[in-house]
Subunit: 286 residues, 2 copies
């Protein structure tokens, strides 16, 4: 059996009791650690679970899945995923490959950022499609997120923007020389995300949002130090200090808001008067 086990969002105690049973009895335990990461180290997990864990990097999952699935017709293999197992496309591939090999698959769901973000006070029913924001370079500024946000906002919906993490990435220089040396991990912040959003709006000028659009920055959702900061996109450009360390994500508000959302999110506002004024002008509309 291949078990896809969600680990939740924050630390070693976010695994479910069902998930922990699977980890304890499996022949091999893999941890997918490139689409998201927990707020604790691998060693903490190993000590808490009482098991050693193999890190499954992108290359292993995408090109060498047969090693992960080896003998899983007869043995139990646990594949641990931060958040919920179906948050990222890669694991769909793994399940399809398991089906081809006649390996049964069972999923142990857990909290995902897609539901955990509800703690910011915006109603999960009012979210449209989720988008991803990657680190811009001088020559590569992918802006498909802008079109997706435009669609969401055209029907009044909020947009969750998931921000890039870079774990175990080779530098271009080292890649060119064939060296397996990796860059230190990088985590995008809410500030950088907001700046990149405004950069694309300045470039495209389709008025999908503006410096005064309201948004909520989220840090370490589901953890003990979870933090939300509400404000304009411009304010969020420099709110990283308030938010603290990674992981971050951002929600851009849609116009179709409920007064409960206003009351709840107001609590997190950097400038409460400004938040109220802008809300009255732009939100609570169909």
């Amino acid at each position: 059996m291949l078990y896809l086990v969600g680990l939740g969002l924050s630390d070693e105690t976010d695994i479910t009791l069902k998930g922990l049973e699977v980890v304890k009895k499996a022949s091999r335990v893999y941890l997918e650690a490139y689409t998201s990461v927990l707020l604790v180290d691998q060693s903490v997990l190993e000590s808490y679970y009482g098991r050693s864990i193999m890190i499954a990097d992108r290359e292993m999952v995408e090109s060498n899945s047969d090693e992960i699935l080896r003998s899983a017709q007869d043995e139990d293999v646990a594949f641990l995923v931060v958040g919920d197992p179906f948050g990222a496309t890669t694991h769909t591939d793994l399940v399809l490959r398991a089906r081809e090999l006649a390996i049964p698959v069972q999923t142990v769901p857990n909290a995902s950022i897609l539901s955990g973000i509800g703690a910011c006070g915006l109603q999960l029913y009012n979210f449209g499609q989720t988008v991803s924001m990657v680190f811009f370079t001088d020559t590569w500024k992918p802006s498909s997120f802008y079109d997706r946000i435009k669609e969401n906002r055209s029907i009044g919906l909020h947009t969750l923007v998931l921000v890039d993490i870079k774990v175990k990435e080779p530098s271009l220089e080292n890649m060119a020389r064939g060296r397996r040396i990796y860059e230190p991990p990088r985590y995008m912040t809410v500030g950088q995300c907001a700046r990149q959003m405004l950069e694309i709006e300045d470039e495209r000028q389709e008025a999908v949002y503006s410096r005064n659009s309201l948004a909520i920055g989220a840090a370490r959702v589901g953890g003990q130090t979870e933090k939300f900061v509400a404000g304009t996109l411009e304010e969020l450009c420099s709110a990283d200090e308030e938010l603290g360390p990674p992981l971050h994500s951002l929600v851009l508000l849609g116009s179709r808001t409920h007064e409960l959302e206003r009351d709840f999110a107001h609590h997190f506002a950097l400038d409460k008067d400004k938040w109220n004024t802008l809300w009255e002008a732009q939100y609570g509309k169909q």
Copy 2:
């Protein structure tokens, strides 16, 4: 401290280790059991948690939250919610009331149907706003879900349709006579949901979807007996036997689909040839 603890989707072992610690140490433990229910009884939870649990019905949560919050400035109170605590609006109210009383609040997230539905093979990034379907009566057929689905489909997105449950509802007759006698619990099925969807399409005739639109019926998501059935809306009208007992939910596909979604969901199709033919004609488009 008020702890909002998510219980996940299926049974007593879906609580997280963090959540179980909270339940064990809290002075009082409430279970919200009207927006969704687990697949096991209260007594199973009580025996597994080693705690007695008070059921918090809608009336208690909405009108008598001060009883739940009593002394929570100094004591720990656990409020258990099936799925993730922020899946339903009611709990936002409870947090706002706690804030007024200067009671600190902490959330223990867990799996929600909003993320767990990813196990059907459709990418969570491609979902639009979620809608709810209530039991129609002869005189009350609320159809706002139709407008929301229209919006989602106008931009190619999938729609998760959450179906009604009726737990501890007084009958109209008993309510009129002031008797506290309740109807047996009722759970809407995928079949009834699909029929009500088609009834509104027949009435409104805006071609938001048709009998041949593809959809996936889901039953007991996250549980040992999780089941998915893929087919046309017409096929799903009579697929309740394949799906089995509650809880059910339904996903109506949007046109913006990925080939991985096709490959994954095809596995669940009632009529695989028909699924392929309709997919080729209508899906995989922007």
